[in-house]
Amino acid sequence: MKTTESHTNLTTPATSGSKLETSSTVDVFADAKILIDSRDSALGLHLRELWSYRELLYFLTWRDIKLRYKQTVLGATWVIIQPLFTMLLFTLIFGKLARMPSDNVPYPLFAYAGLVPWTFFSNAITNSGQSLVGNSNLISKVYFPRIYIPAGAVGAGLLDFAIASLLLGPMLFYYKISLTSQVLLLPFFAVLATALALGVGMWLAALNVKYRDIRYAIPFLVQLWLFASPVIYPASIVPPKWKWVLAINPLTGVIEGFRSAILGTPLDRTSALVSVIVTFIILVLSFFAFRRVEDSFADVV
């Protein structure tokens, strides 16, 4: 502030030319369409605004899908390759070498049915966790509900999820397993997986803006989470003493549920219910947390 002394020359602004008539300012602020107030507690959820921007979710999802496979040689084939090769690897190591039990289902089918929701979930939280930082130019230049950025990243994974699921058809045919009426539960578990991915993804994305360490923590988290979920092994081999650990992991219900919907194996209602409750809690908490901090993203990103 070198020029404070010269600033005194400027303190008598001559205001002229304004077309405004004197208006009582209280009025203006009371019935403004958009009110920006520093004293706003920021706890309002602005759901109406979220709704008015709903098409942006579609566009951001569409953008993420378009961009993902541009300039890749194999394109969308990667969607199948990733879980397929992991399945082959798991079959070789855990199915053949370690002789992992698989609830009387051929191990490759068992592994693939678990890998499809797992791959979706792990990609979704990784991508949405990075999404805010990756879109920093947008965040610092244009206003829109920021929640659609991580949501779009999760949404883009849904297409991959659907494509990867299609391969289950030929596999079921090969192993001569027919679908039961339980397959009707499939959409329910897909929605549950999406909600969980969104809850975790939003939270990671918001944390990542402030603490860039999260970027390095995400791969580690994903790796740990894989072993804490019944993807490689069935929940049934976990000793009863440790069942609760698996049960509070909301992904257990999702993966086991997805598997029984496809394979027609008995559904563990308790773990599904726990998963629904935990997912709901995570989603609500993370939504509120995100809304509370989103105003400051532009200043820190």
Binding site: T3, K19, Q71, I214
Partner: protein
């Protein structure tokens, strides 16, 4: 009439320095060090007010220019009005949809085609799909990019990207349009078209906030202007009055302009004491384009540097090098021997040469065919303005990096 924008006591404080915890370790460490202090309460020493106690109102249909030097708080104000960042104090009432054009092409993705980018950008700016579809042909026609619609934007020229981006934003039809420095880019023809479009927008009764340091552009489209200085409203009123006020007071507002050296502007062999600009014997950084001005460089030579040469590179706001000058061009005894001591170099830059706009000067010293002794980027900054709006002023709008006033001697050779 009820104002469409009402701003009351607006202020924005930024934290500067290493106070914000950008890694978890720092956050944990500071929590351990002072567990009873919350994260928010930082000492006031590391904060600056980018905006302080700003109040104004804008009536529907008004076109208001926001002017001020870099760092006056223009972009912070716009960021608050377009809800990108929250104010620290004060409040704003907006009675209509806000479309902001803080930087054209934001959200354009180089891998996507022109068509795809129009839809994506439109959605980001708040348009619905139906709305974009309805205006699509108009947008493309305005941008003159019909034949490249299905080409990825990465193959576009920068001018084409700007045209397309402006076209999308101009067709947004918000009640309040915020435009920031868009006209600094693109060719003259397109600039005219943009100004025309903005006039059309205002005829339809929409409100425009136009932010620029190009007085000519502000003068031609805004009836009213607000001058920001050091985060506060210095003057508000009819555009012509405000620009005149700004030019009259620019010396008071910005003098004495002396750039103190930063730690890296000093090496073992040479160090920079100060750089300042004088026009008509006044230290200033607002340069009247008609008159010559002098750049003073005060430096210390610590060791003999035979064969060395000082150079000054001047870039315009678009980052293009306008010229490079060196004391090697017109050799002096000082330059030849470069003996130790304190020296003052004066560089005289003639009037009637530069175009209006912002300029940045980088200083350096090198030894021919050997090494760069030191280089200090963007040490000098000055704004060139045109004092009068007359026929001579039109030269600033012609293509070209400079706008020299040259003499044309014309003699009649035959009848």
């Amino acid at each position: 009439m009820k104002p469409i924008i009402a701003v009351e006591g607006l202020g924005k404080r930024y934290r500067i320095g290493a106070q914000s915890h950008n890694s978890l370790r720092d956050a944990v460490a500071s929590l351990v060090r002072s567990p009873f202090r919350t994260f928010r309460s930082n000492g006031s020493e590391n904060t600056i007010w980018a905006l302080k106690d700003v109040s104004f109102e804008v009536a529907p249909g008004e076109v208001v220019g926001i002017i001020g030097r870099n760092g006056a708080g223009k972009s912070t104000l716009l960021k608050i009005l377009s809800q990108i960042t929250r104010p620290t104090e004060g409040r704003v009432a907006l009675n209509g949809r806000v479309g902001s054009l803080l930087e054209v092409g934001t959200g354009f993705h180089s891998e996507l085609t022109g068509r795809e980018n129009v839809f994506l950008n439109g959605a980001i700016l708040g348009m619905t799909r139906v709305e974009i579809q309805r205006k699509f042909d108009e947008i493309v026609a305005f941008a003159e990019t019909e034949q490249f619609l299905d080409t990825p934007v990465k193959h576009y020229s920068s001018g084409m990207i700007v045209r397309l981006a402006f076209a999308v934003a101009a067709h947004l039809e918000p009640e309040i349009l915020i435009v920031d420095e868009v006209l600094a880019v693109g060719d003259v023809e397109f600039q005219k078209k943009c100004l025309g479009k903005m006039n059309e927008v205002t005829r339809e009764g929409r409100t425009v906030l136009f932010v620029s340091h190009d007085f000519n552009a502000v003068n031609s489209i805004c009836e009213r202007a607000i001058l920001l200085h050091q985060g506060s409203v210095a003057m508000s009123g009819v555009t012509a009055d405000v620009t005149r006020y700004y030019l009259d007071h620019s010396n008071n507002m910005y003098s004495p302009i002396t750039w103190s050296p930063r730690p890296d502007d000093s090496v073992d062999e040479v160090s920079l004491n100060s750089v300042n600009i004088l026009q008509n014997d006044l230290a200033t950084s607002a340069i009247n384009c008609r008159d010559p001005f002098i750049i003073h460089i005060d430096y210390l030579i610590k060791q003999p540097l035979r064969g060395s040469r000082f150079f000054l590179i001047v870039r315009n706001a678009q980052g293009e090098v306008v010229f490079t000058t060196s004391d090697y061009d017109v050799m002096t005894t000082e330059a030849e021997t470069r003996r130790p001591g304190r020296f003052l170099s004066r560089i005289l830059i003639p009037g009637g040469l530069l175009k209006t706009g912002g300029y940045y000067g980088s200083l350096g010293l090198d030894i021919k065919d050997d090494r760069v002794v030191f280089a200090a980027d963007d040490t000098v900054h000055f704004d060139v303005f045109e004092p009068e709006d007359d026929t001579q002023a039109t030269r600033h709008r012609r293509p070209g990096a400079i706008a020299p006033l040259l003499s044309w001697q014309t003699t009649e050779l035959s009848k």
